[in-house]
Symmetry: C2
Subunit: 506 residues, 2 copies
């Protein structure tokens, strides 16, 4: 890594601090020099605080500082608000517009069916031929593509061909908007009213997921969806992706289906095609996921399957993870036998853990257990500051958190982003990357919105261009890529970074 440490400075400052702590320095007015040194020491401890910026970077950094001062002075400072209310404000923020252009490295925590904005799904996918829709008892919707009228679903209205439905409607825009509203949590209404509790928002999350399902698991859509997803991240200046994917059965118009190996292979092919089309995109890898609601027997089977897939598709398959609401699912320790592998078997874990505020419960042990199972990274780790031992292990071993600010806010773990636990972690350079979890579900896109919340919300006035640079580099350093691949990816990123910096200083 290109970590250019300001070692001499840091060492001197540390000495000062030590002297100060042990009472070696005593004065009536604190010496402004010491004070200055301690302030600098603190700044140097944050993520990126050890990076030495070049001239152009320093100029861009001053620019950013001025922008941030203005942003923080706003009475409607976006990180204090729910993202659904803040989005339109963020969109006009000059910092956000800079962040969009910034090469952000990799997105290491994104799920398979929430990569692409829902407008594309409605305007493109649902307009394809043979798209059937039905409405469930709970007023959610379901889709299927089929060459003939599909068998009715339980607790659902009869299937209607969307083409026919649209032909009969006077106002198609209303229909399309209503479909769109069913495919995302985003709403223009007051989010506190629509989603008063974690239970309500998670229930809607799961319904929305089921609504998407029939659209995105249709083979032709599946391919296009993934290509479109890569495009959206690429357009947001993300160069690499680690996608958590369920590898579900993918179906064809005649009802025939493909297995997980086919799906993984398809991911591989589309990634290759996309990288060929966009040579400055580095690539993507898959983290195979299963729902944490399954039983032990199923889990054993899935882990075996994961081991096999990892062996057969080593270059595209990064590892394994469990998904679904942690608070309601089974804790990792429940699956300990299934997750224990013989010494000679390789299956890297990328466990979601600590996406909870149920402190001290079974589920709250997931953080420690993920580390005991040698997880490569931690998905979220929202509860980590409340686990000093786990925090220590994560720090010492370099097990990075995948911090997804907007996801945590929408799923009601935190309100004001400045109170996000990762704010303090970022100020002490805890290993972390910024990611977006399910951007389409939250009305976000790519990584820029989450970078905005982290940079402006967590970091206050102190986080700077070095912080952003380090966060981007972290996404390569903590990726599942081999050291050689990382070197290549970093070089690619560095070229784009230098371009970005020189394009934005005047």
């Amino acid at each position: 890594m290109a970590d250019q440490l300001q070692r001499p400075y840091a060492a001197a400052a540390c000495l000062l601090l030590l002297q100060y702590l042990t009472g070696g320095i005593s004065m009536s007015i604190p010496d402004p020099k010491y004070r200055e040194a301690l302030i600098k020491l603190e700044t140097s401890m944050q993520t990126g605080g050890q990076l030495v910026l070049n001239d152009a970077e320093r100029r861009l950094d001053s620019l950013l500082f001025t922008m941030k001062q203005k942003e923080i002075a706003r009475p409607d400072f976006p990180p204090t608000m729910h993202f659904f209310k803040a989005r339109h404000l963020i969109r006009t923020s000059p910092i956000f517009n800079l962040l969009k252009k910034m090469p952000k490295g990799g997105a290491l925590h994104v799920h398979d069916f929430s990569m692409v904005d829902v407008e594309w799904l409605v305007k493109n996918v649902t307009y394809r031929p043979q798209c059937f829709m039905c409405v469930t008892d709970k007023q959610s919707i379901r889709f299927i593509f089929s060459s003939q009228l599909p068998k009715p679903l339980p607790h659902c209205s009869p299937w209607t061909l969307l083409e026919n439905l649209r032909a009969k409607m006077i106002n198609i825009t209303d229909l399309d908007n209503s479909i769109m509203g069913n495919l995302t949590l985003f709403t223009d209404e007051d989010p506190e009213t629509v989603y008063p509790s974690q239970d309500v928002v998670w229930d809607r999350f799961e319904q929305t997921f089921l609504a998407l399902w029939g659209l995105v698991t249709y083979a032709p859509v599946f391919r296009d969806y993934y290509y479109q997803g890569l495009t959206q991240f690429y357009m947001d200046n993300v160069m690499y992706l680690e996608l958590r994917a369920l590898l579900p059965e993918i179906y064809e118009l005649d009802g025939s289906t493909h297995d997980a190996a086919w799906t993984l292979k398809t991911y591989q092919e589309i990634t290759r095609q996309f990288t060929a089309d966009h040579p400055d995109f580095y690539g993507a890898r898959i983290i195979f996921t299963v729902h944490r609601g399954v039983n032990i027997t199923t889990m054993k089977g899935v882990v075996e399957k994961a081991v096999k897939l990892r062996r057969d598709f080593t270059d595209v398959m990064a590892g394994f993870d469990l998904v679904g609401r942690e608070d309601r699912g089974r804790p990792l320790w429940y699956f300990r036998e299934a997750l224990s592998l013989p010494k000679n078997v390789i299956l890297p874990f990328f466990f979601h853990a600590g996406e909870t505020d149920l402190e001290g419960t079974e589920v709250d042990q997931n953080l420690l257990d993920a580390l005991l199972f040698n997880t490569s990274r931690i998905g979220h780790g929202f509860a980590l500051p409340r686990h000093p031992v786990a925090k220590n292990i994560s720090r010492k071993r370099g097990v990075a958190l995948e911090v997804c600010p907007i996801s945590n806010q929408v799923l009601k773990l935190v309100n004001d982003m400045r109170n996000h636990p990762a704010a303090a972690l970022m100020l002490e350079n805890h290993p972390m990357v910024i990611s977006s979890d399910d951007p389409a579900m939250f009305g976000a896109c790519g990584l820029s919105y989450d970078f905005y919340e982290a940079f402006v919300g967590f970091g206050g006035l102190r986080s700077n261009l070095g912080t952003l640079k380090q966060l981007a580099m972290n996404s390569i350093k903590y990726s599942s890529l081999t050291p050689e691949q990382q070197k290549k990816a970093l070089a690619l990123w560095q070229r784009r970074w230098d371009e970005f910096v020189s394009n934005n200083v005047f």
Copy 2:
């Protein structure tokens, strides 16, 4: 201190952790013994985690654990809600009722004019003879006691004798309720609607303060108010108080006034009287405070006065502090010359610092500066986790935070108490005490509500009776009392603690 450390256990656990961190332990299923040890290690790291409980305490602890499990399972779990909405739920909580009975030690961060519930002010004080009231342009109210019609206040209606006003009213209850509403921030309406921003709530805070002013600075009321304040803390099983007091001019019915020395002496006398009436109350000390809005010249004069008062009233005067909204006031560093004392002058500081979310600003340096000025404790320290250097110094030097959860929530620094930054600090046994800041202003009383939020909200299921015991002991350990006084206070507390424990196990 009666810190009975479980040293042998802690050492073994630390060794385990070290082995684990350095990769000395490797296994396919993590060994349940190691896992157990790490979990225990983590629990032992929290506030009180090193205390060894006796049999009766252990039984009470089990009881508490069961209560907490029930409490956390509630869909309307109080720490997730605004205190104004949660108060009636907390009142019926069995944990809260236990906390009320628990001897909590000292209240180290309480302000002079928010000790007594406003009902007493209205029902007792405003019914006294010669109480005049007027209404300001901003619909706040002002009071004065006077033997004759007082001179009119600018931007205020003419003065009315309350006695006359009440005689003319049909519905006195409405009048009294309206007065009461003017003397506290507490409201039955939706707090988010009434106080949409920090600016609004602080503005109301300051108006409310001015409304109280004329009532509590009237000499006869001043004495009774303080006695009544001590009574309310005593009834809440608080045995000691460090009161931040402005020592303002106190007036008599004829308009004559008393100076700060008189006021301090009055505090001393009433405290002695109260302690004589209640031998199991240990006493009170005063931290002289000035508003941070003053200019440098005024500050210099006030510091000189503080030094003199401290010399003349060493046993009752603990030290000095600045008050008022940190975000809008002058930072400590602005007053550095005024706050710098010759070596032979003693004036302990108890600075408010870090009661802000304006990270990286001038004001945000107050935390470090308070420590550079050798502050004895830190008022709030809400921003401390975002200042790793300051955090280090505070920890190593044992400079305790005075954590006031409800104050921070009402003044809009945090919503869900589980996200309060002190939650993580408590789980790593950072030096801290729990206090209530301005309980009457927030509709609270004594310390029990704030203990509830800390114990149930910050601590989740893991904090236990040891945590509560340690927090109570911390309030003596980190008080301004001399070592001998602390020993006496601790013995007094320990007797009451043992009684409390044996009264509550069956």
